[in-house]
Symmetry: C2
Subunit: 197 residues, 2 copies
Protein backbone atom coordinates (compact mmCIF):
# COMPACT_ATOMS: atom_id res chain seq x y z
CA UNK A 1 0.00 0.00 0.00
CA UNK A 2 1.13 3.51 -0.77
CA UNK A 3 0.58 6.49 1.52
CA UNK A 4 -2.63 8.37 0.69
CA UNK A 5 -1.72 11.02 -1.89
CA UNK A 6 -2.32 13.89 0.55
CA UNK A 7 0.29 12.43 2.87
CA UNK A 8 2.94 11.74 0.24
CA UNK A 9 2.50 15.29 -1.06
CA UNK A 10 3.26 16.62 2.42
CA UNK A 11 6.25 14.29 2.77
CA UNK A 12 7.58 15.71 -0.50
CA UNK A 13 7.17 19.28 0.79
CA UNK A 14 8.87 18.58 4.10
CA UNK A 15 11.74 16.69 2.47
CA UNK A 16 12.84 20.00 0.95
CA UNK A 17 13.57 21.43 4.39
CA UNK A 18 17.13 21.60 5.69
CA UNK A 19 18.19 18.37 7.37
CA UNK A 20 14.82 16.68 6.83
CA UNK A 21 14.91 13.29 5.15
CA UNK A 22 12.00 11.08 4.16
CA UNK A 23 11.74 9.43 7.58
CA UNK A 24 11.61 12.71 9.49
CA UNK A 25 9.16 14.11 6.94
CA UNK A 26 6.84 11.14 7.50
CA UNK A 27 7.15 11.63 11.25
CA UNK A 28 6.13 15.28 10.90
CA UNK A 29 3.14 14.46 8.71
CA UNK A 30 1.91 11.76 11.08
CA UNK A 31 2.21 14.18 13.99
CA UNK A 32 0.16 16.73 12.02
CA UNK A 33 -2.54 14.10 11.57
CA UNK A 34 -3.01 14.13 15.32
CA UNK A 35 -3.67 17.89 15.36
CA UNK A 36 -7.24 19.10 15.43
CA UNK A 37 -8.66 20.76 12.34
CA UNK A 38 -8.55 24.29 13.77
CA UNK A 39 -4.83 24.03 14.46
CA UNK A 40 -4.16 22.61 11.00
CA UNK A 41 -6.04 25.49 9.39
CA UNK A 42 -4.14 27.96 11.59
CA UNK A 43 -0.82 26.45 10.47
CA UNK A 44 -1.98 26.47 6.86
CA UNK A 45 -2.83 30.18 6.92
CA UNK A 46 0.32 31.04 8.87
CA UNK A 47 2.35 29.53 6.02
CA UNK A 48 0.28 31.35 3.40
CA UNK A 49 0.86 34.60 5.32
CA UNK A 50 4.63 34.20 5.02
CA UNK A 51 4.21 35.34 1.42
CA UNK A 52 3.19 38.75 2.80
CA UNK A 53 6.60 39.31 4.42
CA UNK A 54 8.87 41.80 2.69
CA UNK A 55 12.56 42.59 2.61
CA UNK A 56 13.50 45.82 4.39
CA UNK A 57 14.42 48.20 1.56
CA UNK A 58 17.32 49.55 3.58
CA UNK A 59 19.08 46.58 5.20
CA UNK A 60 17.43 43.57 3.50
CA UNK A 61 16.07 42.01 6.69
CA UNK A 62 12.72 40.16 6.64
CA UNK A 63 10.06 42.60 7.78
CA UNK A 64 6.30 43.12 7.90
CA UNK A 65 6.72 46.58 6.38
CA UNK A 66 8.95 48.13 3.73
CA UNK A 67 11.36 49.31 6.43
CA UNK A 68 12.22 46.97 9.30
CA UNK A 69 11.92 47.76 13.02
CA UNK A 70 15.67 48.12 13.35
CA UNK A 71 16.13 50.57 10.48
CA UNK A 72 13.14 52.58 11.74
CA UNK A 73 14.74 52.86 15.19
CA UNK A 74 17.05 55.92 15.36
CA UNK A 75 18.76 54.59 18.48
CA UNK A 76 20.25 51.75 16.45
CA UNK A 77 22.18 54.32 14.41
CA UNK A 78 23.50 56.32 17.39
CA UNK A 79 26.75 54.37 17.48
CA UNK A 80 27.14 54.78 13.71
CA UNK A 81 27.92 51.08 13.46
CA UNK A 82 26.65 48.59 10.88
CA UNK A 83 27.05 44.85 11.26
CA UNK A 84 27.31 43.07 7.89
CA UNK A 85 25.96 39.50 7.79
CA UNK A 86 25.50 36.97 5.00
CA UNK A 87 21.85 36.19 5.58
CA UNK A 88 18.76 36.83 7.62
CA UNK A 89 19.40 33.89 9.96
CA UNK A 90 22.77 35.34 11.01
CA UNK A 91 21.13 38.63 11.87
CA UNK A 92 18.53 36.93 14.08
CA UNK A 93 21.32 34.91 15.75
CA UNK A 94 23.22 38.08 16.68
CA UNK A 95 20.02 39.81 17.82
CA UNK A 96 19.27 36.86 20.12
CA UNK A 97 22.65 37.34 21.81
CA UNK A 98 21.57 40.90 22.69
CA UNK A 99 25.22 42.00 22.38
CA UNK A 100 24.88 44.34 19.44
CA UNK A 101 22.99 47.63 19.51
CA UNK A 102 23.78 48.96 16.03
CA UNK A 103 22.15 48.38 12.64
CA UNK A 104 22.56 45.48 10.23
CA UNK A 105 23.19 44.95 6.58
CA UNK A 106 22.25 41.70 4.85
CA UNK A 107 24.83 40.99 2.18
CA UNK A 108 22.88 38.17 0.56
CA UNK A 109 25.81 35.76 0.56
CA UNK A 110 29.56 35.94 0.06
CA UNK A 111 31.75 36.37 -3.01
CA UNK A 112 32.26 33.02 -4.68
CA UNK A 113 33.89 32.80 -8.11
CA UNK A 114 33.00 29.10 -8.26
CA UNK A 115 29.28 29.78 -7.82
CA UNK A 116 29.55 32.88 -10.01
CA UNK A 117 28.64 35.23 -7.18
CA UNK A 118 30.43 38.51 -7.81
CA UNK A 119 30.09 41.91 -6.11
CA UNK A 120 27.01 42.71 -8.22
CA UNK A 121 25.13 39.70 -6.88
CA UNK A 122 25.53 41.02 -3.33
CA UNK A 123 24.18 44.22 -1.77
CA UNK A 124 27.62 45.87 -1.60
CA UNK A 125 26.61 49.02 -3.52
CA UNK A 126 23.69 49.50 -1.15
CA UNK A 127 26.04 49.09 1.81
CA UNK A 128 28.38 51.79 0.50
CA UNK A 129 25.44 54.14 -0.04
CA UNK A 130 24.18 53.51 3.49
CA UNK A 131 27.65 54.12 4.96
CA UNK A 132 27.73 57.51 3.27
CA UNK A 133 24.13 58.52 3.89
CA UNK A 134 24.03 57.40 7.53
CA UNK A 135 27.57 58.65 8.22
CA UNK A 136 28.65 55.21 9.47
CA UNK A 137 32.02 55.14 11.32
CA UNK A 138 32.41 51.43 11.96
CA UNK A 139 31.54 48.30 9.99
CA UNK A 140 31.64 44.95 11.75
CA UNK A 141 31.94 42.03 9.33
CA UNK A 142 30.10 39.07 10.87
CA UNK A 143 30.69 36.72 7.95
CA UNK A 144 31.13 33.02 8.55
CA UNK A 145 34.73 31.79 8.52
CA UNK A 146 35.44 30.21 5.12
CA UNK A 147 37.66 30.95 2.17
CA UNK A 148 34.79 32.84 0.53
CA UNK A 149 34.13 34.72 3.76
CA UNK A 150 37.80 35.74 3.93
CA UNK A 151 37.81 36.95 0.31
CA UNK A 152 34.61 38.92 0.87
CA UNK A 153 36.09 40.59 3.96
CA UNK A 154 39.20 41.68 2.06
CA UNK A 155 37.08 42.97 -0.81
CA UNK A 156 34.83 44.95 1.52
CA UNK A 157 37.84 46.48 3.29
CA UNK A 158 39.07 47.62 -0.13
CA UNK A 159 35.84 49.27 -1.24
CA UNK A 160 34.75 50.81 2.06
CA UNK A 161 36.17 54.35 2.52
CA UNK A 162 39.37 54.32 4.57
CA UNK A 163 38.01 56.69 7.23
CA UNK A 164 35.52 53.95 8.22
CA UNK A 165 36.86 51.36 10.68
CA UNK A 166 36.26 47.83 9.38
CA UNK A 167 36.52 44.93 11.81
CA UNK A 168 35.81 41.25 11.56
CA UNK A 169 34.29 39.27 14.44
CA UNK A 170 36.68 37.06 16.37
CA UNK A 171 37.46 33.53 15.25
CA UNK A 172 38.63 30.76 17.52
CA UNK A 173 37.38 28.06 19.84
CA UNK A 174 33.62 28.29 20.49
CA UNK A 175 32.40 28.34 24.11
CA UNK A 176 32.09 24.78 25.37
CA UNK A 177 34.25 23.66 22.46
CA UNK A 178 36.90 21.04 22.92
CA UNK A 179 40.37 21.38 21.40
CA UNK A 180 40.51 17.63 20.98
CA UNK A 181 37.58 17.61 18.56
CA UNK A 182 38.12 20.87 16.73
CA UNK A 183 39.29 20.99 13.14
CA UNK A 184 42.79 22.14 12.24
CA UNK A 185 41.65 25.42 10.68
CA UNK A 186 39.80 26.53 13.81
CA UNK A 187 42.82 25.74 15.97
CA UNK A 188 44.97 27.64 13.50
CA UNK A 189 42.67 30.68 13.76
CA UNK A 190 42.47 30.37 17.54
CA UNK A 191 46.27 30.44 17.85
CA UNK A 192 46.50 33.33 15.42
CA UNK A 193 43.92 35.32 17.38
CA UNK A 194 45.49 34.78 20.82
CA UNK A 195 45.40 37.71 23.24
CA UNK A 196 47.71 38.61 26.08
CA UNK A 197 46.10 38.37 29.52
Amino acid sequence: MQFPEKISKMVEHFSRWPGVGEKTAIRYVLSLLRWNHDDLHALSSAIAELTLLKRCQECGLISEETTCDICKNHERFLHKTICVVEGVADCFAIERSGEFKGAYHILGGVLSPLQQIGPNELTIDKLLLRIERRDIREVILALNPSVEGDITCSYLRDVIPLKVRVERIGMGIPMGGNLEHLDVLTIHKALENRRSL
Copy 2:
Protein backbone atom coordinates in the same frame (compact mmCIF):
# COMPACT_ATOMS: atom_id res chain seq x y z
CA MET B 1 14.38 43.24 18.06
CA GLN B 2 11.78 40.49 18.04
CA PHE B 3 11.00 38.27 15.09
CA PRO B 4 8.18 39.64 12.93
CA GLU B 5 4.96 38.21 14.36
CA LYS B 6 4.32 36.03 11.31
CA ILE B 7 7.64 34.32 11.89
CA SER B 8 7.27 33.77 15.62
CA LYS B 9 3.79 32.33 15.01
CA MET B 10 5.34 29.78 12.64
CA VAL B 11 8.11 28.99 15.12
CA GLU B 12 5.44 28.28 17.71
CA HIS B 13 3.63 25.93 15.34
CA PHE B 14 6.77 24.02 14.39
CA SER B 15 7.94 23.74 18.00
CA ARG B 16 4.97 21.44 18.61
CA TRP B 17 6.39 18.85 16.22
CA PRO B 18 8.19 15.79 17.55
CA GLY B 19 11.87 16.46 18.22
CA VAL B 20 11.69 20.07 16.99
CA GLY B 21 13.04 22.70 19.38
CA GLU B 22 13.04 26.45 18.96
CA LYS B 23 16.32 26.49 17.02
CA THR B 24 15.20 23.89 14.49
CA ALA B 25 11.82 25.62 14.17
CA ILE B 26 13.55 28.91 13.34
CA ARG B 27 15.71 27.11 10.80
CA TYR B 28 12.62 25.67 9.12
CA VAL B 29 10.86 29.03 9.00
CA LEU B 30 13.91 30.76 7.52
CA SER B 31 14.16 28.05 4.88
CA LEU B 32 10.47 28.58 4.03
CA LEU B 33 11.20 32.28 3.51
CA ARG B 34 13.45 31.30 0.62
CA TRP B 35 10.61 29.42 -1.12
CA ASN B 36 8.72 31.16 -3.88
CA HIS B 37 5.12 32.20 -3.24
CA ASP B 38 3.59 29.44 -5.35
CA ASP B 39 5.35 26.75 -3.37
CA LEU B 40 4.34 28.34 -0.08
CA HIS B 41 0.70 28.43 -1.17
CA ALA B 42 0.96 24.81 -2.31
CA LEU B 43 2.33 23.78 1.10
CA SER B 44 -0.34 25.82 2.83
CA SER B 45 -3.18 24.11 0.97
CA ALA B 46 -1.58 20.68 1.35
CA ILE B 47 -1.71 21.18 5.12
CA ALA B 48 -5.31 22.41 4.98
CA GLU B 49 -6.20 19.32 2.93
CA LEU B 50 -4.95 17.03 5.68
CA THR B 51 -8.18 17.86 7.49
CA LEU B 52 -10.04 15.98 4.72
CA LEU B 53 -8.34 12.69 5.60
CA LYS B 54 -10.51 10.17 7.41
CA ARG B 55 -10.01 7.12 9.57
CA CYS B 56 -10.86 3.84 7.88
CA GLN B 57 -14.07 2.73 9.60
CA GLU B 58 -12.86 -0.85 9.65
CA CYS B 59 -9.18 -0.80 10.68
CA GLY B 60 -8.65 2.81 11.79
CA LEU B 61 -5.92 3.59 9.26
CA ILE B 62 -5.66 7.08 7.75
CA SER B 63 -7.47 7.04 4.44
CA GLU B 64 -8.90 9.29 1.75
CA GLU B 65 -12.19 7.40 1.89
CA THR B 66 -14.30 5.82 4.62
CA THR B 67 -12.68 2.44 3.93
CA CYS B 68 -8.94 2.27 3.31
CA ASP B 69 -7.23 0.67 0.31
CA ILE B 70 -6.12 -2.30 2.40
CA CYS B 71 -9.55 -3.12 3.83
CA LYS B 72 -11.07 -2.73 0.35
CA ASN B 73 -8.59 -5.26 -1.06
CA HIS B 74 -9.94 -8.81 -0.69
CA GLU B 75 -6.49 -10.29 -1.27
CA ARG B 76 -5.32 -8.85 2.04
CA PHE B 77 -7.85 -11.07 3.82
CA LEU B 78 -6.98 -14.28 1.95
CA HIS B 79 -4.55 -15.39 4.66
CA LYS B 80 -7.13 -14.56 7.35
CA THR B 81 -4.44 -12.73 9.28
CA ILE B 82 -4.70 -9.38 11.05
CA CYS B 83 -1.68 -7.47 12.32
CA VAL B 84 -2.49 -5.34 15.37
CA VAL B 85 -0.45 -2.14 15.77
CA GLU B 86 -0.56 0.74 18.24
CA GLY B 87 -0.77 3.57 15.75
CA VAL B 88 -0.86 4.60 12.12
CA ALA B 89 2.92 5.14 11.94
CA ASP B 90 3.59 1.51 12.92
CA CYS B 91 1.31 0.32 10.15
CA PHE B 92 3.14 2.40 7.54
CA ALA B 93 6.48 1.09 8.88
CA ILE B 94 5.39 -2.52 8.41
CA GLU B 95 3.93 -1.76 4.98
CA ARG B 96 7.25 -0.24 3.92
CA SER B 97 9.00 -3.50 4.80
CA GLY B 98 6.72 -5.26 2.32
CA GLU B 99 6.85 -8.38 4.52
CA PHE B 100 3.21 -8.56 5.50
CA LYS B 101 0.37 -9.32 3.11
CA GLY B 102 -2.57 -9.45 5.56
CA ALA B 103 -4.79 -6.73 6.99
CA TYR B 104 -4.15 -4.34 9.88
CA HIS B 105 -5.91 -3.15 12.96
CA ILE B 106 -4.99 0.14 14.62
CA LEU B 107 -5.42 -0.29 18.36
CA GLY B 108 -5.05 3.41 19.15
CA GLY B 109 -2.46 2.85 21.88
CA VAL B 110 -1.74 0.31 24.59
CA LEU B 111 -3.35 -0.39 27.95
CA SER B 112 -1.90 1.95 30.56
CA PRO B 113 -3.45 2.16 34.03
CA LEU B 114 -1.19 5.15 34.81
CA GLN B 115 -2.52 7.16 31.87
CA GLN B 116 -6.02 5.80 32.49
CA ILE B 117 -6.15 3.97 29.19
CA GLY B 118 -8.33 0.89 29.68
CA PRO B 119 -9.76 -1.57 27.12
CA ASN B 120 -12.60 0.83 26.29
CA GLU B 121 -10.17 3.53 25.18
CA LEU B 122 -8.74 1.16 22.59
CA THR B 123 -10.41 -0.43 19.56
CA ILE B 124 -10.44 -3.91 21.12
CA ASP B 125 -14.19 -4.48 20.71
CA LYS B 126 -13.90 -3.59 17.05
CA LEU B 127 -11.01 -6.02 16.68
CA LEU B 128 -13.04 -8.87 18.18
CA LEU B 129 -15.95 -8.08 15.85
CA ARG B 130 -13.63 -8.08 12.84
CA ILE B 131 -12.07 -11.39 13.87
CA GLU B 132 -15.52 -12.94 13.92
CA ARG B 133 -16.94 -11.28 10.84
CA ARG B 134 -13.85 -11.81 8.68
CA ASP B 135 -13.24 -15.30 10.08
CA ILE B 136 -9.68 -14.38 11.06
CA ARG B 137 -7.44 -17.35 12.00
CA GLU B 138 -4.28 -15.55 13.07
CA VAL B 139 -3.58 -12.30 14.91
CA ILE B 140 -0.04 -10.90 14.91
CA LEU B 141 0.56 -8.44 17.74
CA ALA B 142 3.09 -5.87 16.50
CA LEU B 143 3.06 -3.78 19.67
CA ASN B 144 6.21 -2.01 20.79
CA PRO B 145 8.16 -3.75 23.56
CA SER B 146 7.31 -2.06 26.87
CA VAL B 147 5.58 -3.01 30.10
CA GLU B 148 2.33 -1.59 28.72
CA GLY B 149 2.88 -3.44 25.44
CA ASP B 150 3.37 -6.70 27.35
CA ILE B 151 0.21 -6.17 29.43
CA THR B 152 -1.80 -5.36 26.33
CA CYS B 153 -0.57 -8.51 24.59
CA SER B 154 -1.61 -10.70 27.54
CA TYR B 155 -4.99 -9.00 27.69
CA LEU B 156 -5.59 -9.48 23.97
CA ARG B 157 -4.63 -13.17 24.19
CA ASP B 158 -7.25 -13.52 26.94
CA VAL B 159 -10.11 -11.89 25.05
CA ILE B 160 -9.42 -13.25 21.56
CA PRO B 161 -11.20 -16.61 20.96
CA LEU B 162 -8.89 -19.57 21.64
CA LYS B 163 -9.31 -21.00 18.13
CA VAL B 164 -7.48 -17.95 16.79
CA ARG B 165 -3.69 -18.15 16.84
CA VAL B 166 -2.19 -15.07 18.55
CA GLU B 167 1.50 -14.32 18.03
CA ARG B 168 3.71 -11.46 18.97
CA ILE B 169 6.49 -10.17 16.69
CA GLY B 170 10.01 -11.17 17.67
CA MET B 171 12.04 -9.14 20.17
CA GLY B 172 15.81 -9.06 20.29
CA ILE B 173 18.83 -7.37 18.79
CA PRO B 174 17.95 -5.13 15.83
CA MET B 175 19.84 -5.61 12.54
CA GLY B 176 23.08 -3.65 12.69
CA GLY B 177 22.69 -3.44 16.46
CA ASN B 178 25.65 -3.83 18.74
CA LEU B 179 25.47 -5.94 21.90
CA GLU B 180 27.92 -3.56 23.55
CA HIS B 181 25.53 -0.63 23.33
CA LEU B 182 22.19 -2.36 23.83
CA ASP B 183 20.19 -1.95 27.02
CA VAL B 184 19.85 -4.80 29.51
CA LEU B 185 16.19 -5.47 28.74
CA THR B 186 16.82 -5.97 25.03
CA ILE B 187 19.67 -8.38 25.77
CA HIS B 188 17.41 -10.19 28.21
CA LYS B 189 14.72 -10.54 25.52
CA ALA B 190 17.28 -11.55 22.91
CA LEU B 191 18.56 -14.38 25.11
CA GLU B 192 15.03 -15.46 25.94
CA ASN B 193 14.08 -15.57 22.26
CA ARG B 194 17.12 -17.55 21.11
CA ARG B 195 16.55 -20.15 18.39
CA SER B 196 18.42 -23.34 17.64
CA LEU B 197 20.30 -23.31 14.34
